[in-house]
Symmetry: C2
Subunit: 538 residues, 2 copies
């Protein structure tokens, strides 16, 4: 029995690889085989997955639940409002119908929200430095990227958590630049080697745009810092006009301190972004059970209300300014009060928020993949897989924090970018879904194989045609047999990720910013990323 099972499995495997080789090479000869393989390589639009596949096949909320949440949101905005608005916010919002109360709270009547939704930007592009990396985060299209404010980088081999630095940020950017399934790069970590806030803000933006041509998100603590970065971005773009035509950096902005209070400095930065033509990610990041309600629906209500308030504010400043609906309700482990970013509750909250953005017809940005685990281990993988799947399929347009994050956002791992890229590739394949045209349904293929053919599909023309177009292959994921795996050194995923990370980082130094422009930037701005870090051997 065992023998027959094992023998059958091995025979099937031999037959599989043998027949395929026969089909591709043996029967046609080596050159023809190579030609056949090349012919099977898909054109760009024929790849098995690509950025911006259309999600929406998972629905955490039913339509009546969405309506109920919307009603609660409007009531919260109209009757509770937000505390601590800065004077310019009060001026802009009350001019549009907002009501400043004697209790210091700015309230948003239903009509103001309706007017906001009537003028808010929809269907906008998020640009890359390279136009082929532009994103269209709307109409159900889903993009995955990094984000976060990790204060540690973890060495997964030793388990040591050390302070994160600007070189790590640059390395993360150039790694993401080479990983197909991470579609944008928002800064995932804090440059703790730069204690001066101005230098930190500037270099965070500089390291990111130097490392990748994908769309970048960054963050600033003071409006002057925003202006300094904008001056640098104008240089890279080739002038302010060129920047404003294709702004390739967006601002991640925590304009609100949940529950329901404006954050003064962040609001001032927000106004600088609006003035500077920079898209904004309006972030409300309450933590359920701590800074937002423990009831999941309540957490969705509060975060949605807060972001709608921010949207009203932005559109009061400048109607139609591109703003991402950034509802980020986090989860608390209520036993300790600690954040739990990898939980099932987290997947539900983010998926529900993605649906709320769709309900309003806005570009939604939520999070998935914020593992609680300190290391890229089985726990981290499972938390990420679950959260990617549900949040991705909910049709969130931009999925942040989706690569590299550990320790409920306190830790970051370069190796996890490589690991997570594989997982995101698989998730993207599921978002693409199943085609059911006549060829895919395969009735004639089944008939051919069963009635005329060899009784298997291994060398069939359909199989060869589908091999590259329908199937995603992992970069480091292992699919060998136990025997082959032992022969190849019995590696775990982390070991393979370390090798791939070293291979990419050792050989890839982006050069999309012209050396002359970069030299000028280094001359005129407080660049703290060592030039040596941007060259081989650095």
């Amino acid at each position: 029995m065992v023998e027959s099972l094992t023998a059958r499995a091995e025979a099937a495997r031999d037959a599989a690889s043998g027949s395929r080789e026969a089909a591709i090479s043996g029967r046609r000869g080596g050159r023809a085989a190579r030609q056949a393989l090349r012919a099977a390589e898909p054109a760009v639009d024929d790849r098995p997955v690509r950025p911006g596949l259309v999600g929406g096949r998972y629905r955490a909320l039913d339509p009546p639940q969405i309506e109920a949440i919307n009603e609660a949101v409007l009531e919260v905005l109209e009757t509770i409002g937000l505390a601590d608005p800065i004077p310019s916010c009060v001026a802009a919002v009350t001019a549009k119908g907002g009501v400043m109360g004697d209790d210091g709270r700015l309230r948003f009547p239903r009509a103001l929200i309706e007017e906001t939704l009537a003028v808010a930007a929809r269907g906008f592009t998020l640009h890359g430095q390279a136009p082929e990396r532009d994103m269209q985060p709307h109409d159900g299209r889903v993009y995955f990227g990094t984000a976060g404010a990790a204060v540690h980088v973890v060495d997964p081999e030793t388990g040591v958590y050390r302070n994160s630095e600007v070189r790590d940020l640059y390395d993360a950017a150039r790694l993401v630049d080479r990983l197909d399934h991470i579609h944008f790069f928002q800064r995932p970590l804090v440059c703790r080697d730069l204690p001066d806030p101005r230098e930190m803000d500037f270099n965070t933006c500089y390291a990111a745009v130097s490392g990748t041509t994908k769309h970048v998100g960054s963050s600033w603590v003071l409006p002057e810092h925003v202006e300094e970065s904008l001056a640098m971005l104008h240089r890279i773009a080739g002038g302010e006009e060129a920047w404003r035509a294709r702004p390739f950096v967006s601002m991640s902005n925590c304009f609100v301190v949940p529950p329901m209070k404006f954050a003064e400095d962040a609001c001032r930065c927000l106004e600088a972004a609006v003035a500077g033509g920079m898209p904004v990610l309006l972030l409300a990041a309450g933590q359920a059970g701590a800074t937002s309600p423990a009831a999941l629906a309540g957490a969705v209500v509060q975060e949605t209300a807060e972001v709608l308030a921010g949207l009203a504010y932005v559109n009061a400043l400048k109607p139609g300014h591109p703003a991402i609906f950034g509802t980020w309700p986090f989860v608390s482990d209520l036993r300790t009060g600690a954040m739990s970013g990898g939980s099932g509750e987290q997947a539900l909250l983010m998926s529900a928020c993605a649906q709320m953005a769709q309900f309003y017809g806005l570009t939604g940005g939520v999070c998935a993949g914020m593992s609680d685990s300190k290391l890229p281990d089985a726990q981290a993988g499972a938390e990420k897989g679950l959260n990617y799947a549900l949040v991705g399929h909910s049709g969130a347009n931009l999925v942040y924090e989706a690569a590299g994050m550990h320790a409920s956002l306190l830790g970051f791992s370069l190796e996890s970018l490589v690991l997570d890229n594989d997982a995101l590739g698989a998730v993207n394949r599921t978002i693409r879904g199943i085609e059911c045209d006549a060829d895919s349904l395969s009735v004639e293929t089944i008939r051919d194989v069963c009635l005329n053919g060899p009784g298997h599909y291994l060398g069939h023309a359909q199989t060869l045609a589908r091999m590259q177009k329908d199937y995603v292959y992992p970069l480091i994921g292992d699919r060998t047999s136990p025997k082959e795996w032992v022969e190849q050194g019995s590696t775990d995923a982390l070991t393979r990720a370390r090798r791939k990370t070293a291979e990419i980082l050792g050989g890839y130094y982006p050069t999309h910013i012209e050396p002359a422009v970069d030299a000028e930037i280094r001359r005129d701005f407080p660049v703290r990323l060592p030039e040596a870090a941007t060259r081989a051997g650095g």
Copy 2:
């Protein structure tokens, strides 16, 4: 900036744990606090998750796609049919309208399938030895369990793949008996220490039913073996009548060799199960690109056709015999022909098949969690998380192979049962979904906290009430801060899983089969599980 970030995080954490303690203990005193905590412990029906939550919020297929697949299925059954039916199958099926062709293929006209669906069992129970473990796998309810025919057990610490044995099977069963989120136990591994097929079949069933009171699935290679196991099961049940009233073991039956051929011995076993009152899992396990079409839709068509043929066969033998619609389309990595059970394509195939079972109104059983990785590492976690999420949310009634599997089903790990249990708990939480009643929407809670309260939700009555009812806590999942994690030994998930596995296995020896009955079984049947293995210190 860094200081303020870190300080803020730490302050939030201190506030969280401090306020919660204050709310629970400080303000009320120790005894009152303990009472409050006890009061917050949920009743059984108030647990955050339970077996059989209703899925269906993820839809891999649209209704027109389902219709197109169904039409293709009916055409395949009517015009291609299955080869190699045994005479009793031909007799039973042709009596109901099947057509035996001169080419040796048994064809299933549309009317026969319609009649089959009219009489097929629906809404049946799958029993446990303990009634509280009965499952109702229908009407969208989702249960997760083990299954498989691994030939190796992996020691995740050393990476050594050794032959699997009957003691491993017993250990797996008693571990599953104690893990809340694994709802049934189908044999996941082959007892390779028992080379005699009769002994293997008997002891596989015996070890499983001895180790757990959850519903068991097992497999047999010859009908005489089925009968011997039934005689043993009658003893445990307290007679044949009691067994037939509550059959707590189902047969996993590969009655088909894809593409579209009956398997002789398996069909004979199937008939023995039907005669013996044992529910059957009708399994068709083609591998896309090898034994079923590479086009995903085609793989679904073929497996659905094969299982419908099996269902027609079972219902021709005995109308209404409980049968599980076991479409298991596996994935090939077409570069090598090897199976890839952890891929995104795999999640799509199984989710689509779950929908086909729903379309026919039948109890559907598919697979999720068959990692390609050889070890419980980040790759394994991500593959499992993705597959659990989509297949679970597709509303599959029974999700097999969902715990412990590695190496695309060739390897099994006891530690992975513990790891996967945590992941399945989280997935189950997402299947439960989000309640949107008035209390959950939390408008008054938000008002209370913002306008009257302390500005956070940490000690709020709603938070305390929701803590146990709404949130799932992992058994070994780590949610500590990096600092606490280092203090606690910087463990990875696997290390914690090893400890928990040893703790459970060292202290839990099920006694649900009465010692006198077990002694009789050991006297009258070829039991090969050492008695010492069933006692502490054994």
